[in-house]
């Protein structure tokens, strides 16, 4: 690791100070003093700013690669064989320079580090001519992303590492004989194993700056575990990999997968509320939604409009009863906003979602007076301009 450990420690403290300021325990002057006393990295805390710098960094990266191509294009074939590695080299140089200038979570460093991973991945695919066997690229990317994570303590690299590991497992199992048949079970076992491994590492952690990476891996395991036993995923993958012809046949052990599709999210929810684990709580919400979707894909029990209306009513009832129950509690599980850890960022997205799903549109072209409802809930995205 080449990040300055002192600065990382300071970063932890300044972030704590930010939290305490939001919670109203300390005042602005105090925070200013803390920031002054504890020098830190060049950090962009605002996600929009970081995104803008990421884009600029990517442009810079691309333009440098363009210059190299311009110079090397006369080398023709040899150049194209090595260009990806050259570009990855540019990424390494850029990242090392930025880190030495104390840029961290700035957007610029993200652009260069992710550039390294992308170029190495593409380079390996071209070199090995492995368009159908993705195992070697996946292994390489996994190794490289772990190195970049560890060297630069770069959180997005950790995400790439997790995905690459999942890919390694997936492609590796396909290569094995009978691998496809046992794929869901092996994935479940591996995910569970890594979950408890990372969990143990977290509980014995003394340096907080490793916390985020481990937490990410930990949550990733939860998601992979759920997906590997979800009926929809298993069924579609069986059709894809084993070439099952199923018009109305069921996959083997379908009752097991249906059972898991419903018990796992509920178990997550229960566990999250018990251990006060917010990330697990959110994963359980998403998992429940996906489970409902799974059922609707195969059994259209209700027409969509009735399902939406009833779903809205049920959700409202759940929220209503929970709020009534939690309203007057002061400790533990409560409806009172937490001063320190709040997820208000999600509430800020509300206005944006309304605008995208219910915004009125001009009706010059259509016959119907207005396009109501039917709002695509995928709208909104991460623009976050409010």
């Amino acid at each position: 690791m080449i990040q300055d450990k002192n600065l990382l420690d300071n970063l932890v403290l300044t972030e704590e100070a930010d939290l305490l300021l939001d919670a109203g325990f300390i005042n602005k002057e105090q925070r200013a003093i803390i920031r002054k006393e504890l020098p830190s990295f060049k950090i962009q805390r605002n996600i929009l700013v970081r995104l803008a710098f990421f884009l600029l960094g990517a442009f810079l990266y691309l333009s440098i690669c363009g210059v190299i191509t311009l110079i090397g294009i006369s080398g023709e074939n040899t150049f194209f064989k090595i260009c990806c590695y050259l570009f990855a080299g540019v990424g390494v140089l850029g990242a090392e320079y930025l880190i030495s200038q104390k840029y961290y979570r700035h957007g610029l460093d993200d652009a260069f580090i992710l550039g390294i991973l992308l170029n190495i991945g593409c380079g390996i695919v071209f070199t090995t001519d492995a368009y159908d066997i993705m195992l070697i690229p996946a292994v390489t990317v996994a190794i490289v992303s772990f190195l970049t994570y560890y060297r630069y303590l770069h959180l997005l690299s950790m995400l790439v590492f997790c995905m690459a590991c999942a890919a390694v497992l997936f492609f590796g199992m396909i290569e094995l004989q009978y691998g496809e048949q046992v794929l869901p079970f092996v994935t479940m076992l591996v995910a569970a194993g890594f979950y408890f491994f990372t969990k143990k590492r977290i509980s014995s952690l003394t340096k907080k700056y490793f916390y985020n990476g481990l937490l990410l891996a930990n949550s990733f395991c939860l998601i992979v575990f759920y997906l590997s036993c979800n009926y929809l995923v298993v069924r579609e993958l069986s059709i894809e990999l084993l070439g099952y012809e199923m018009r109305d046949k069921e996959i083997p052990l379908w009752y097991f997968f249906y059972f898991m599709t419903f018990t796992v999210p509920v178990f997550y929810l229960y566990q999250a509320l018990k251990t006060k684990d917010r990330i697990m709580l959110w994963i359980s919400f998403l998992a429940i939604a996906f489970s409902i979707y799974t059922v609707r894909v195969y059994h259209s029990v209700l027409p969509i409009e009735v399902a939406l209306t009833l779903g809205g009513l049920v959700l409202f009832a759940i929220a209503w009863f929970s709020i009534q129950k939690l309203k007057n509690k002061e400790t533990g599980l409560t409806f009172k906003p937490d001063r320190i850890n709040n997820s208000n960022a999600f509430l800020n997205a509300e206005t944006l979602i309304v605008a995208s799903s219910f915004g009125l549109k001009p009706e010059v072209k259509t016959d119907s007076p207005m396009e109501f409802g039917g709002g695509g809930f995928s709208g909104g995205g991460s623009e976050g301009s409010f």
């Binding site: 704590e16 325990f25 977290i202 907080k208 400790t331 533990g332 999600f346 915004g359 207005m370």
Partner: protein, 331 residues
Amino acid sequence: MANLDEQATQNLFDKNLITENQYQEIKAYRSLGIFSLNAELKLFLYFSALLFTSGIGILIYDNIDSFGHIVLLSVLLILIGGCFYYCFKNSKGFQKTETVFESPFLEYIVLIANILTCIFIGYLQFQYEAFGTHYGLATLIPTIVSFSCAYYFDNKSVLTIAVTGLAAYIGLSVTPQDIFNSSNDFYDNQTLTYSAIALGVLLIVWTIYSSRINLKTHFTLVYLTFALHLISVATISNLFTDDLMWLLFTVVLGISSFYFYKVSHEQKAISLYIFMIVYAYIGFNLFLFRILDFIRPDDIWILLILLLPIYFIVSIVMFIKLIKKFNKEIA
């Protein structure tokens, strides 16, 4: 996790950066073990409102000929009446400043009531042509209702519906997914561009007037966000036109960027500032491109590619300076 947080607080205390009192206070608060579901449950309410109204909307749209119209209309009307009854009963009435309601449900009931009203008016128009062929009126009335609701119940979600309605009235689609794709044909339709810019200016003027009379000043950011995106997207898409009009639009973009530079400082709104910079940067690059295109320096393209990295480095340095300046000024 909790241990690590406590350790961080302990460290701050050890370094004498927080006082003994504060330290004890924080420790006592942490020991309560609060796990708040506030945001999550509110989000549930919110999604339930969206699901419910979407369901009703589709239900009516699909069955527009099969149900008895009167039955449908009366059911809708009863629902709307119920919602509004709840809202009026639980609200504190109109206030000029930001209002906080005790009931967590009110905000979402207002939203439901409002969307249902829009559906109701749309249905009236579709089935009975209540507003004749004045389709504009069928957009304008929901807009007015939404504006009144937004101001009376202090609801930002409803306000965004109102603003999109206002834009729809003059023929623009300003929902987030539409403003960036081609559903508004600014390029072929210059009148649309002028309307967009005019609407943007109107929204800005309204924010200035509101802040004069102290009317719901916390809505300003919503209006300004709409205005910034409207004006900028409209002018940028016109920077490609063939006649000399693009020069005019460059000037308009420049003026609006300058205005939003000022106003984002006043509002301390980094989202406005960032988008202003991004739009200005895009505009500036297009301007450079048009100039180069005009001169047509055929031989120096290679030189330009070689210069590109330097150009980006300079831009990055400028960006960093701008952000630093902003952070310093609003601190």
